[in-house]
């Protein structure tokens, strides 16, 4: 296709992506260097027969004029990045001097909002991704052994958790797991602990959200693995059976190597999706004990008094860097393959 034709065909979608994905990333980058204005204060002198007092009040008018003039806020450089709510460089060096043991130090650091969120996000990725791969693979193997006639409805049932939006999925689970729901109430009876509830402990909340993540993402892994299983050639499998390979050996040495590229694909997609975990925190009302990077940004953007654009943008930039680190190995590999292919 000539370049000119390509250009006209690609223009609409290219424009949409540049305007609404490319530019916002740049806009986020710019915003992250600004912080909201401080309020302008003025001294007011009040005199009465007993003398004069000077008090400091907020000058509403001047503040709003300043906000209108420079809506982006004041230039802050990397100030937002290093403040207490983000990288907290100062606080960390303080903790380093103050604390005696490494455990104490880590405790202190993971109490800072950014590191707390990072810790949760990484824990979530670390537990959900491998379990999703494993459970998806087992379901695929298992369904593949079931008679073809009834597979259709079974597949439909299996993919339900994936097609609902995360907020709805987590709400539906939350209503069951909560102390007043069917599972929560029965757990209380079984454990004989009337105060046992999701919100009572941080660990329980984390475990619940991780279980939700596995529940929500496994169907995707299942669908892809199931399709890949249909393409496994029969001859080597039959040869292996004749040679006396056990079921486990067949899966380990024939099926798995065949679908290996698909496994990396699913792992990558699932890692990308898990890194932006956000809606389940709202669905489970777990803001108190579990916060993710995406949730921090959301929280800044729905702030009641002033929207903290700068703070949200700084967290966004660091999230994008996180995504870049996750994607880097894949991109480097693609590039190498592309170069050798040429």
């Amino acid at each position: 296709m000539p370049n000119k034709t390509f250009f006209w065909f690609f223009l609409p979608t290219g424009l949409a992506m540049i305007l609404f994905i490319g530019l916002p990333i740049i806009s986020t980058g710019i915003q992250s260097f600004y912080a909201q204005h401080d309020q302008v204060v003025k001294e007011v002198k009040k005199c009465d027969p007993f003398g004069c007092t000077v008090s400091i009040v907020v000058d509403q008018e001047a503040t709003s004029v300043l906000r209108d003039e420079r809506p982006l806020g004041k230039f802050n450089g990397f100030g937002t990045y290093v403040d207490r709510n983000h990288l907290a460089i100062e606080q960390i060096s303080e903790f380093w001097d103050e604390t005696d043991t490494l455990g104490d130090f880590i405790d202190q650091v993971t109490n800072l909002p950014f590191y707390k969120a990072l810790l949760f996000t990484l824990t979530y990725c670390l537990f959900v991704t491998p379990n999703v791969l494993l459970l998806g693979f087992i379901i695929a193997l298992s369904l593949n052994a079931i008679s073809r006639k009834i597979r259709g409805p079974l597949i439909f049932g299996t993919i339900l958790p994936m097609i609902v939006t995360p907020l709805v999925g987590s709400l539906v689970l939350f209503w069951m797991i909560d102390a007043e729901g069917i599972i929560g109430a029965n757990l209380q009876l079984m454990m004989e602990d009337p105060y046992l509830s999701l919100k009572s402990s941080r660990t329980l909340t984390w475990i619940t959200i991780i279980i939700y993540g596995i529940w929500h993402h496994s169907p995707f892994a299942f669908v892809v693995f199931y399709a890949a299983l249909q393409t496994v050639p029969q001859e080597p499998v039959e040869a292996a059976i004749i040679d006396g390979a056990s079921r486990y050996q067949r899966i380990r040495h024939i099926v798995l190597p065949h679908i290996y590229p698909v496994v990396t694909f699913v792992a990558l997609i699932s890692l990308m999706d898990n890194f932006r975990v956000f809606e389940p925190i709202i669905g489970f009302s777990a803001e108190g004990s579990a916060q993710s990077l995406s949730w921090l940004i959301y929280d800044n953007l729905v702030n009641e008094e002033v929207i903290l654009f700068g703070s949200a943008a700084a967290t966004s930039m660091m999230t994008i860097i996180g995504i870049a680190i996750l994607l880097a190995p894949v991109l480097i590999r693609t590039w190498k393959e592309f170069r050798t292919a040429r």
Binding site: T5, F6, F9, P12, T13, A16, M17, F20, I21, P71, L72, I139, S142, L143, A145, I146, I155, F156, G157, T158, I159, L160, I163, V164, T165, L167, V168, L171, L173, W175, M176, G181, I182, V224, Y226, A227, A228, V232, V237, I241, V262, V266, M272, F278, E279, I282, L293, I297, N300, L301, F309, A312, T319, I320, I323, L326, L327, L331, T334, F338
Partner: protein
């Protein structure tokens, strides 16, 4: 994988069946339970006294005189203005699907027929864009949208959702277009068609399965979106998912929880119907990119 030689022992078969049944219970029961509970009153579905009330309908009988009640639905749809939210969802979904398919088919066709190196880089860039968490993009939108005074209205959200959806649509349609033989449009070009005519009259008619799949995924994205719609729309224009969240209230015990339950069921039912109808397309869409490597 139906092994002709493979003989499964009965124990394995039983184990397999049990596993599938347990998994299906885990996957489906929450939805069935929510559907069941949406016809009860709050004191039953969220019972502090005894969870069995949700089944025996103890309080529902006292409050409404019947085993089942559709009060939650009628209140949420009228008083809770869920009708408005669902109307907004329909508007957003219809426009997002139409526009994304239009832009996506054009772009993906060009990508699949180009032999230049930049086509490869565009696809890689699309992959990177696909990985961006939506909330980071929203944090980039808010400020300029406030300044331009286009925040809060449906058209802005539609355009944003279309753009966010493009990378995935492009990849999906690209792999579908790749399966259409090049000779088809080349012969049309030799016969004197322009590229656009070849695309419109030769390629599109054989592309319907791919277009339906891509359309379904755009639809699911627009229908299910929370991040963009919650932050870019004002209260009046909220679609279904942010509306459900607003029923929850800040504290779980304020807000009208049963409205949320019935709203969840109302929002999920059409989606399930759709997927039941188009199950084959959804699965082929999820696997085209993956299986062909």
């Amino acid at each position: 994988m139906e092994y002709g030689l493979d003989k499964r022992s009965n124990a394995l078969k039983t184990f397999n069946t049990t596993f599938i049944i347990i998994w299906l219970l885990i996957a489906c029961f929450p939805f069935i339970w929510t559907f069941w509970g949406s016809f009860k009153v709050r004191a039953d579905f969220f019972s502090r006294a005894d969870w069995w009330y949700a089944i025996s309908a103890f309080n529902t009988l006292i409050e409404t005189g019947g085993q089942f009640t559709s009060n939650a639905y009628s209140e949420a749809w009228t008083e809770g203005e869920f009708w408005k939210a669902s109307r907004n969802t329909i508007i957003v979904t219809v426009f997002v699907v139409t526009i994304s398919l239009f832009l996506g088919t054009l772009g993906a066709y060009a990508l699949s027929r180009s032999t230049e190196r930049y086509a490869f880089w565009i696809l890689i860039a699309a992959l990177i864009f696909r990985a961006m968490p939506h909330i980071t993009l929203v944090s980039g939108y808010l400020f300029p949208f406030f300044e331009l005074q286009i925040w809060g209205i449906l058209p802005t959200t539609i355009v944003v959702l279309v753009a966010i959806n493009q990378p995935f649509t492009l990849w999906l349609l690209y792999s579908f277009f790749k399966t259409v033989p090049k000779e088809l449009d080349e012969s049309a070009l030799i016969d004197g068609c322009s590229y656009f005519q070849a695309f419109r009259y030769i390629i599109m008619p054989v592309m319907w399965p791919g277009v339906i799949t891509a359309g379904l995924f755009s639809l699911m994205l627009a229908y299910n979106d929370f991040t963009v719609t919650a932050l870019l729309l004002n209260q009046e224009n909220h679609t279904m998912v942010p509306k459900i969240q607003s029923y929850l209230g800040t504290n779980q015990h304020e807000g009208n929880l049963m409205w949320a339950v019935s709203a969840v069921v109302s929002a999920t039912a059409p989606l399930f119907m759709l997927v039941m109808f188009f199950q084959r397309q959804v699965i082929s869409g999820l696997t085209t990119g993956a299986v062909k490597g």
